[in-house]
Symmetry: C2
Subunit: 455 residues, 2 copies
């Protein structure tokens, strides 16, 4: 047992030392560390190194270990690593990758580099990869492995096992075996478990499960991954427009897609653009670049709040205490809107809410917002009255009720509306919604103030 056993005990090994070791000159020390570390560990440490420092430790790995580690790296890191290796090693790695991993890596490269590497592939590998690259990005066709071990319905169990002995080693998996007719049309799927436990003479067509999911090559990869997660699928057959089997998406690719999609959603919920690469492999400039766009959006929306306040300047001057509560009011309303937005966006992402649910969802969120506004107003009233007077307290409380309700309505409707017009709902991010609510909340605040305080 050479790989680590996870335990409830927190990791005590200081990472800094490993990073220093890998960047040092003592090649024998690096070699020793590499020998006792497992591929996931090595991959993690390589990803954290500055990009120009990765090639040296990587080159010390034996060929098959190197491939194992390489396969686990994020494509952005893979691409940077290749830049530091000798051309022969690059060609070899590229050739040894599975076609779907190769396709992913190619997406990260400049077009010239990609063309060159693809041209250097063996004909079979080049064909497999070109097929995948022919499909749209983020589609099932790009995600799938074209190297499928499939069976014919007319085979017997014995013939099937014999076939697996021939092709089993090159297929991505043999645990889920798609079954086709002579024209390669998908008829069902047979699990290796059922094959192994069956009598040798049974026809495959009798054993297979015909009640199976499949997906067209042009299906979005996130849809594929969510279905596999919901139906607990080890693998999903992919078919072309004529229902012919063209590939298989396996659970590990589904898990990776879900992690990427969730990282994107979390980034947008927090008001950044997704990094698209491991965090510590991202430079400060890249970090800043992923955030500046939304901050500029917020700044622009901030200009609106400035104007609103300037318009209501006389109201402010007449009741200066109103200014004290501006951050509290718009901040609370903004948070309420953010809560609605993130909840609804997530529900949309995991398929719990559909476009047809717009009215029920907005209705519930509106009621929740109203409820929250009333509770907050009730709690805030007396302390504010004690701090200033009943008039101001009344204005703040009434505004909270109205603004929180508005915020929930807006926060829930915008993501669904975005999806309806084909925009990623997560783009209706927290900064955008908060900005809209800040501006409208301020307007409500001052109008209520004018009415209640008779200004």
């Amino acid at each position: 047992m050479t790989r680590p056993t996870l335990s409830g005990v927190p990791d005590a090994v200081p990472t800094v030392e490993v990073q220093e070791l890998l960047q040092g000159n003592d090649l024998e020390l690096i070699d020793r560390w590499l020998a006792q570390a497992d591929p996931v560990e090595i991959g993690e440490e390589l990803s954290r190194l500055p990009k120009e420092r990765r090639a040296v430790p990587f080159r010390l790995l034996a060929k098959d270990r190197a491939l194992e580690v390489f396969e686990l790296l994020d494509p952005s890191v893979q691409q940077e690593l290749l830049a530091g290796l000798r051309e022969t090693n690059v060609r070899q790695l590229f050739e040894d990758l599975d076609p779907d991993d190769r396709a992913r890596l190619t997406e990260e490269m400049p077009a010239t580099v990609a063309r060159q590497l693809l041209a250097g592939l063996s004909p079979n590998e080049r064909r497999l990869t070109s097929t995948l690259l022919g499909y749209p990005e983020d589609s099932a066709g790009r995600l799938m492995s074209p190297e499928v071990a499939s069976l014919l319905a007319s085979m017997t169990v014995e013939q099937a096992i014999s076939r697996l002995r021939h092709i089993g080693h090159s297929a991505e998996t043999i645990y889920a075996l798609p079954v086709t007719d002579g024209a390669r049309r998908l008829l069902g799927v047979l699990g290796l478990r059922d094959l192994v436990l069956a009598d040798p003479g049974t026809p495959i067509g009798e054993l297979m499960d015909t009640n199976v999911y499949s997906a067209r090559v042009d299906t979005d990869q996130e849809e594929v991954a969510r279905l596999m997660r919901e139906a607990d699928l080890l693998a999903l057959p992919i078919v072309d427009t004529e229902d012919r089997l063209v590939g298989l998406v396996t659970f590990d690719d589904a898990m990776r897609v879900l992690e990427e999609e969730d990282t994107e959603d979390v980034a947008r919920a927090g008001g950044s653009e997704p990094l698209g690469r491991p965090y510590l492999a991202t430079s400060v400039v890249q970090l800043a670049r992923s955030r500046i766009i939304w901050l500029l959006v917020f700044l622009g929306a901030g200009a609106i709040t400035v104007n609103v306040l300037a318009i209501f300047e006389t109201t402010l001057a007449a009741a200066v205490a109103l200014a004290f509560f501006v951050p509290l009011v718009i901040g609370t309303a903004g948070n309420t809107g953010a809560q609605s937005a993130t909840t609804v966006t997530r529900a949309l992402a995991v398929g719990e809410v559909r476009l047809a649910d717009l009215m029920p969802v907005v209705g519930r969120e509106g009621r929740a917002g109203l409820f929250l506004g009333v509770v907050l107003a009730a709690i805030a009233f007396v302390p504010i009255m004690a701090f200033t007077d009943a008039g101001i307290a009344g204005v703040v409380s009434i505004t909270l009720v109205i603004a929180c309700t508005m915020a929930s309505l807006l926060g829930s409707a915008l993501p669904i509306g975005a999806k309806r017009i084909g925009v990623d709902p997560a783009v209706m991010s927290v900064p955008l919604i908060t900005a809209l609510i800040d501006a409208s909340g301020l307007v409500v605040y001052f109008l209520v103030a004018q009415i209640v305080l008779d200004l």
Copy 2:
């Protein structure tokens, strides 16, 4: 082929009709819909029904279909559904569940109901479930299936396949076969693929992979799931403190855990407590309850901003235009902090950042925040000067630089600090960090104003 093929074409079936159909009185119509729908679909529609309306359609399902559908439901929905079924059906469903699914469902029940149902189990099932429930919640022990098909290293391939024919049907999976010695200590894992493709006389001990991961029963479930995702594991053996095999966690459970954990993290990033159940199966009151706590926190922090503004009342009165820019300044700084916080929290969750990385991370985030503050200040200066005067513009710009830097430092340090003291970093949620930054940002704003404008 009776299950739907996913395609790039968006779903055109109106869901509302299905919901009405399932709540109607036409049992034959419901029966027909159920017959053509697949388990995932049925599960989704049941989850969306009001809880008192689920039992009727569910009872129309044939026994094995009913189990299939039941297994796919979220435990909170499972538990509510049980309440509407006859006792004999409940006992049967409970008995037929896999032990790990049963343990999950039991967690959702009131203790009295759980005890009663557990008492009604057959002795073997009760033993299996009690074992799982003996482990802490959210641990590998709770997540695993105790029904593991394991092999002895001393067996031959032929003997192994023969054994699988006997026990293969009751095991959770036979695709990953843990290999043990006579004392049940884990020695390695053999994939069914390699078993099937090998010569019958080969000893298992020679075929197996000894270079395998495992986890102790007390490991946190999220750690287990992330490892499986990183290392593309179909299954992970679970061992006790003496390295004896006690169970197996499969990829589908890992995927589910990751989805739950990500939903929790997204909820907290948006300032809510996680719902813990499907969105449309959550009542308005439950929605509101998941949000009120953070809003109260924000309200409390809002009290601080009120006090800060009151303290600097004279400064405000001396330069009224300062009030116009309050939402813009604290909103922008707040967003910058939120960006840092969500990025770092996510990186912590997926294992890209570790506790030892505190200084490097805070350093990078601080630089990013400074960079962003300077860019924003540069962009904002001239328009603000045109709107008011150079003095105010100077105050706003300087504040933006300082506040954005502070916000990034705080936003990145707090999640790591939280994890260090054993608190879920996602609790350092956007409302909490925004509240802290609003208050401190305001103080900076007015201090800068006093200095620059000589007030």
